[in-house]
Symmetry: C2
Subunit: 427 residues, 2 copies
């Protein structure tokens, strides 16, 4: 089996030596961060399995789909609607960008002091160590932040890249119109690549598929309101990370099984921590696989993360159940584009919705404290933290602001700060 | 006279103690950086005079205008069209943000690791040391970068703020439409503030005023093609910095006088440096007054800056002569919005126009080298530098990339790098 994949990776142009190094590290990290957890839900086995074959099984699926004439579309950000890509008969795969493993290659072109996610997004392609990226026919980027926006320009020299404009003042009529027209342009681009003309039926079906995925993820989120929560923050984070690149229908089915187990746990008052464990919300930048750094620190310090206001958390489902009752392609795409502008990304100004979300979630999930998480030099989230702290103060929820990258250098310092924060909460 | 201004500043709510400290430093810096230059054009006396009364005379003019019922509109970025503000019968004043004097106040709210211009823009208001800011009835921001976009949200808690959305993919029809509608919305906002309904005549007149200003600045730019150039880079930079906040008609007149003197110098082959001095282009982030750091280093090292591809250089005039022949408000505003999208800011993706501009300017101004200037953590310009270097390599023009802030800490290091760059050029 292993040998088969080596051939597959070689055919994809993977830098085998560097890739071997990466794969040698991952199991160790995963064992330490994930498998060491006590009392995990049994249904997490599926996600463990996905990680154990992270560059194998799913990549093989993509290549099989390509053999059957399908195209593979890679993306990095929620603002590229899954519904459109699925409707075009392409396979969508979220790329990761959660490791500093390729910083050296990235920094040959990109500045050092940019966000680690952007560095990794570019670096994994530049270093040729991501088989998903190698398998992709096109990468669809977006203009959600300066760093990514400009990085995509450089990425376009390494692989076909198409960038979607996301407006910045989403409450204006002209911004909604711009995004709708950008979605129509993306539809044309996808049709051009796949040779498949998107129909009303395609969109109705794809909206249904993604609605089902969001519904089950919403249920997963809800189970964590229980005291104690039936699943760790780390495990829930992993489920969301895998949601970005797994087959959506299988993922929905497997996550349904997980949710059923969690609901059973709640009935039986089975939790992953003691009832007294401090309940923490993490809010801010996305955490791409394998970025488990903050979650591991927090949950190793005796607290439990019960909700992520993040692209790997509540923002992932914030477009809600999209109405697919319309009967023209234009109206269905309008429904998609309107719904997606409900994702409260810090790229918007103002972005009051995010602050309101955090305040609401703090109450609903009975959190004892919020950790505001920014990737280094992410100006959007970094600056928005000021408003967040002010609003949380009004409801007496303390906030700790962490800005970090993917290195291990500051793990000691962050651990100390998190422990002090938890101690303050426990008092 | 001095005493009058103290009363004026106090009435504006200025933090007098801190403001005194600022004003005590400026003349020393100005003497060292500007007045020490040899063979300056005589017409620079006007700009010296403006700087010598930097927080006095012009502020008094603004207050007199306010007494006469006018409103004062402050702004930071070229993407807020002067034409619209002037047409609304308001006085437009560009704020500076070129000093780290208020970093402490700014960092109470903003992250430390953001662009120094953004920190200063916010800090000068937070610390109450800028009489222009204090005199402003509204500040008009824009979404040209993540940092400014989010900073304006916090600024809005300190003073009335309105943010214009600038699109990010300016070549699409939907982006042009969005910007046009944003301009129409800004027009309404200005009318609301000033109580003055903008007419066709107002726009025709204001377009004419700003066209005249741009025409003379274009002439100033052109004089520097001469070998040797008749004016230093530092002096030209100052003229552009003052263009942001001086009365436009007086400024145009005074700059006309300067240009005439420079043209006379060219005829007589009078230059500010020896013909053999290396000719440098600076390309990148704007330099707000009193940010003269890089120019001072370069010109103290024996080179001369002959062109700035910058908001305080060629970008300032890149909207060109706007056609004011249309006869409806909508058509005139359409002419403005279309013209402004020709400013090749790194906020755009792709922004090929800027690279093309630099390559063209390098030839036109016979430059020996380009210094790419980025403010710290300005992802847009920082990342774009990679493309710039590649394109300049093709025409055999060397490029030095400098990323810096407003502190003096790296002056020694930058000087060493600039000197090494010049030495390489001279070989």
């Amino acid at each position: 089996m292993e040998t088969d994949y080596r051939k597959m990776w070689e055919d994809l142009g993977i830098n085998m030596e560097k890739h071997d190094q990466l794969l040698a590290v991952l199991p160790f990290v995963y064992r330490n961060v994930y498998l060491s957890q006590k009392n995990r839900p049994k249904a997490m086995e599926y996600y463990d399995f996905v990680v154990s074959g992270v560059h194998g099984i799913r990549v093989k699926e993509l290549l099989d789909a390509k053999d059957a004439g399908k195209k593979v579309v890679a993306y990095f950000c929620l603002y590229v609607p899954e519904e459109l890509v699925i409707a075009s008969n392409a396979v969508l795969v979220g790329l990761c960008g959660g490791s500093n493993f390729t910083d050296q290659e990235a920094e040959e072109v990109l500045p050092r002091n940019i966000c680690p996610l952007i560095k990794a997004s570019y670096g994994f392609k530049a270093a040729r160590i991501c088989p998903y990226f190698q398998a992709a026919d096109i990468c669809v980027g977006e203009t959600t932040c300066d760093g990514k926006k400009k990085m995509y320009e450089l990425l376009s020299e390494l692989c076909p890249t198409y960038t979607v404009e996301v407006p910045q003042k989403p409450d204006t009529e002209q911004a909604r119109e711009l995004f709708y027209r950008e979605m129509m342009a993306l539809k044309s681009k996808l049709e051009e690549i796949t040779g498949h003309k998107i129909t009303v039926q395609d969109l109705k079906k794809s909206i249904g598929i993604v609605n089902a995925k969001r519904a089950v993820l919403d249920q997963l989120i809800s189970t964590r309101k229980a005291v104690p929560p039936p699943i760790s923050g780390k495990d829930s984070l992993l489920v969301f990370q895998i949601a970005f690149y797994d087959d959506p229908q299988r993922f929905t089915q497997k996550t349904k099984e997980l949710v059923e187990e969690l609901q059973e746990r709640i009935k039986n008052k089975v939790g992953v921590v003691d009832e007294s464990a401090p309940r923490i919300m993490v809010s801010g930048c996305p955490m791409a696989i394998p970025n488990w750094k903050l979650h591991h620190i927090v949950e190793s310090s005796g607290a439990v993360i019960v909700v992520e206001e993040s692209c790997v958390g509540t923002r992932y489902t914030s477009m809600g159940q999209i109405d697919n009752s319309a009967n023209t392609v234009e109206d269905l795409i309008r429904a998609i584009s309107d719904a997606y502008l409900n994702i409260h990304c810090s790229c918007f100004t103002p972005n009051i919705g995010r602050v309101e979300d955090v305040v609401r979630l703090a109450k609903e999930f009975k959190v004892d404290g919020v950790i505001h998480y920014s990737l280094q030099t992410c100006h959007g989230y970094n600056i928005e933290a000021a408003k967040m702290e002010k609003s949380l103060k009004k409801i007496n929820v303390p906030m700790l602001k962490i800005e970090t990258d993917y290195s291990n250098e500051d793990v000691g310092q962050i651990t100390t700060r998190v422990e002090a924060f938890l101690e303050m909460i426990r008092k």
